[in-house]
């Protein structure tokens, strides 16, 4: 478990550095490194499917972000807002942390999940008529409505991008 803790600490430090560094391009690169750390963390948490998806999504996200960052901005990039916004951020942070303090105490101990919902499904699985990948067979048999909603969300996002671009210039 020590390697997981080290990885999470590296990710927290990287997140702070990525938001505070001055150069935009280097902060995009640090975001990419964060995604790769997350993918290694998924492997340590025994979720190989997630690691594979996260690795590739990270590449595409970095290309899209670099596309936006190559534009030279004439103004100074790294200014902060006025002090009034500071109090808003601090107060919302206090509310969030105090809510998290009460919620985390109710959670089960790390390493022992409740496992009640999927237990009912896994108990009467017919193992002979099942593919080896249990995640896919659960996802596309039992939670298939969720997948359908995910695909519709992706479709709507693509249509949004098409509309936003097509107003400017025809491809």
């Amino acid at each position: 478990m020590t390697e997981l803790v080290v990885l999470l600490i590296v990710m927290i430090i990287g997140a702070v550095v990525a938001l505070e560094i001055k150069d935009l391009l280097s902060s995009v690169v640090i975001i990419g490194a964060l995604g790769l750390c997350l993918s290694v963390g998924f492997v340590l948490l025994k979720a190989p499917d997630l690691a594979m998806v996260q690795l590739v999504v990270e590449l595409i996200l970095m290309v899209i972000l670099i596309r936006a960052t190559v534009i030279e901005d004439k103004h100074d990039n790294n200014k902060k807002r006025e002090n009034a916004y500071f109090f808003v951020v601090i107060s919302s942070l206090v509310v969030f942390l105090s809510a998290a303090f009460f919620i985390i105490r109710k959670l089960p101990i790390f390493g022992k999940p409740i496992f009640r919902i999927s237990y009912a499904y896994l108990k009467d699985l017919n193992i002979n008529a099942l593919g080896s990948n249990i995640l896919a067979s659960l996802m596309l048999d039992w939670r298939v409505f969720d997948v359908f909603g995910c695909m519709i969300a992706l479709f709507v996002a693509v249509i949004c991008v098409l509309l936003l671009v097509k107003g400017k210039r025809k491809i």
């Binding site: 990710m11 995009v28 025994k46 534009i71 901005d73 790294n78 807002r81 916004y85 022992k112 969720d146």
Partner: protein, 94 residues
């Protein structure tokens, strides 16, 4: 979230997305649990909890699509106002 640059704001949403994904997968982890792949020496009831992994698998993809839409909006705003600064965007030009 206190920055003026709009690209930094998009990055902060990406970081929030990552942290929520890690939290979900951590909540479903079981110590000495098995992988979610069926084989002869795997006990099917001693596995990692699959439900958070299913949810996170969809959340990653939707996050990518939403971030692409945000970047497109940012580029569109740049084309109109010629700046990434959100406080200078809606000022009246003299």
């Amino acid at each position: 979230m206190m920055k003026k640059n709009i690209i930094k704001l998009i990055m902060s949403t990406i970081i929030i997305n990552y942290s929520i994904q890690v939290f979900f997968v951590l909540s479903g982890y079981k110590l000495q649990g098995d992988l979610l792949v069926f084989s002869a020496d795997n006990n099917i009831l001693n596995m990692v909890d699959p439900i958070p992994q299913i949810i996170v698998l969809m959340a990653i993809l939707i996050g990518l699509a939403v971030n692409a839409v945000l970047v497109t909006i940012a580029i569109g705003l740049y084309q109109k106002f010629e700046t990434f600064d959100i406080t200078k965007m809606f000022e009246v030009k003299e």
